[in-house]
Symmetry: C2
Subunit: 374 residues, 2 copies
Amino acid sequence: MITPIPEYIRTLQPYIPGKPIEETQREFHIKKVIKLASNENPLGPSPKALLALQKARSSLHRYPDSSAYQLKQRIVKHFGNSLAADRLIIGNGSNEVIDLLIRAFSIPGDQIVTSQAAFIAYKVSAQVHGVQTLAVSLDSEMNYDLSEMLTIIKREERVRLVFIANPNNPTGAYLKSGDLFSFLTELSKIRGGSVIVVLDYAYWEYVTAQDLPEPIALLKKFPNLVVLRTFSKIYGLAGLRVGYGIGEPEIISTLEKIRNPFNVNSMGMIAATSALGDLDFVKKSKTANEKGMKFWKKNLSELGVPYWESQGNFLLVDVKRGLGLSGNDVYQACLRKGVIFRPVSNYGLTQALRISIGTQSENETAFRVMREIR
Amino acid sequence: MITPIPEYIRTLQPYIPGKPIEETQREFHIKKVIKLASNENPLGPSPKALLALQKARSSLHRYPDSSAYQLKQRIVKHFGNSLAADRLIIGNGSNEVIDLLIRAFSIPGDQIVTSQAAFIAYKVSAQVHGVQTLAVSLDSEMNYDLSEMLTIIKREERVRLVFIANPNNPTGAYLKSGDLFSFLTELSKIRGGSVIVVLDYAYWEYVTAQDLPEPIALLKKFPNLVVLRTFSKIYGLAGLRVGYGIGEPEIISTLEKIRNPFNVNSMGMIAATSALGDLDFVKKSKTANEKGMKFWKKNLSELGVPYWESQGNFLLVDVKRGLGLSGNDVYQACLRKGVIFRPVSNYGLTQALRISIGTQSENETAFRVMREIR
């Protein structure tokens, strides 16, 4: 007999990642596979980061620097010294910071609030910890329904954290400065402002809109805010698992206490430290994304497939209306032809498919495959 | 006002890692620093692993393979196909597997049992989760008091897991095959055999004793056993954070459900996959360790400093009896001269100091420094 497992773990539906290229090659015996499923940077890793990794090789037998001294110093510099290192927590991807936040600031039976179609890791991390997720429906613009969120937070006394991705994944929608500011102001009046708001800015560097709230300015105004950033998107380092959180020292020091002392690997920290200075690569990646986004929008429009506007490096597409097939059907059909998109039925969006923007050649091939399955 | 923090997190004493070389250089303005503090492989990383990393560079923008397919296949082969891949969980270091075990199989208020001087990560992981650690005192041979452990487990109904490192860190002692077998047999009779035993074999490859129980054989006999292994020690990959657990599919699948989907980075998995085949390096590392161990034993004996026999790549030394100074005093004095040892007062062993076996030249310098501080 095995020791009893808590009910919330027994009933857990695990996260299903974008299907990996190698797995698709093995399963379908296809050599050439295009993956537009995980919002990775199609240009590859930051070249400066790769260069830095060379130097790191000889000391891999050492445990990583648990204090992440160099990387934190570099991030401080990145923000023009406008914040101190004690406001930073480095995670094994920002995913881990999400996990730490839930573990530090809630106990089994507590609640978090997010949207039905927000990054599913929030919900998974909550459930692993026995914490319930209260998910509001999307509003008419596929965005967070902030007023409904406030209503729930007022009503439910065990809400400890609110998770908002801005721009949001998988919808691509974003919250404007004024709306978010009003929300945070209202929230700060509830239960003495004790509810923590986690603003996930994983796609920040891709944003082209002018009215997305600047995270550091928000942090100065609202002490119960934690901003998440990642090296997995525009910096091209998803394989190395580095993300970070920014918040008040009181919050950060609690997260520091509960993290695994060697949570981030040495290569990841060294690569991230160098990637922050790779401005050319970031610029080039953003330009390529804008070009790819135009390609998809133009071609989808011509094909009569509607999409939702996106501030990220991905596009959510209404394949049901456009192609008469469910997101999962389109996903399966394209997969067999070597193109991996991302079904989003786990968000209740059975009609949609998420397309990560690829290189020009990947986009062209992937679009051709999608067109042919009609 | 910040949201309330659970009492068990507020009172947490975080893990203090071995002092890093760079930090020591910064603090004391010393250029040449020798670190014998974290039981790392002084010969560096596995050369085969380093070679494999070259190939991995170009795909670091991709998320890691969440299923760890290649690495699991390689581990299966390493064990001569005597176990299937569904018995393996890969962790961000075996530290993470410890954490997952506690999260999966206990709830706040439950208990774990270990020894007062067992790897402190067990206790830290437990407390982060609101789980109490019942630590038995060391027996007269600085080893686990198995009969006392059985007594406690019988008495305390909320004990869910037992943690045993074999050989043990920081003492270096090991449990013999017969003793461990009897313990596991007795334990399987308590509460229907529902208590999980975690056998941490981090130092397995360094063992020279013939009567240390073979972990795979034990697993076949006792279904509630989980064996931990790591790439951070003899394979020289501590910086990349890869360890694994072996257990019944029922246990493993629960751990798989609650882990972060991208818990292990790509470089770590690729390096570990190649390192397993680097038999020359493992052999060379083991030989170097035996030679270094002899050096320390001989010189400490001549200096009149007692030590405890060790099966690991480290030696626990009674500096109080040998040098008339506490472990912490010797640590501090040597640190100022650029040699980092490991104080172990956090285990209640104020009289002792743990020395990781270094290269010949590191051992010579470190011993000279220790001798001079008398």
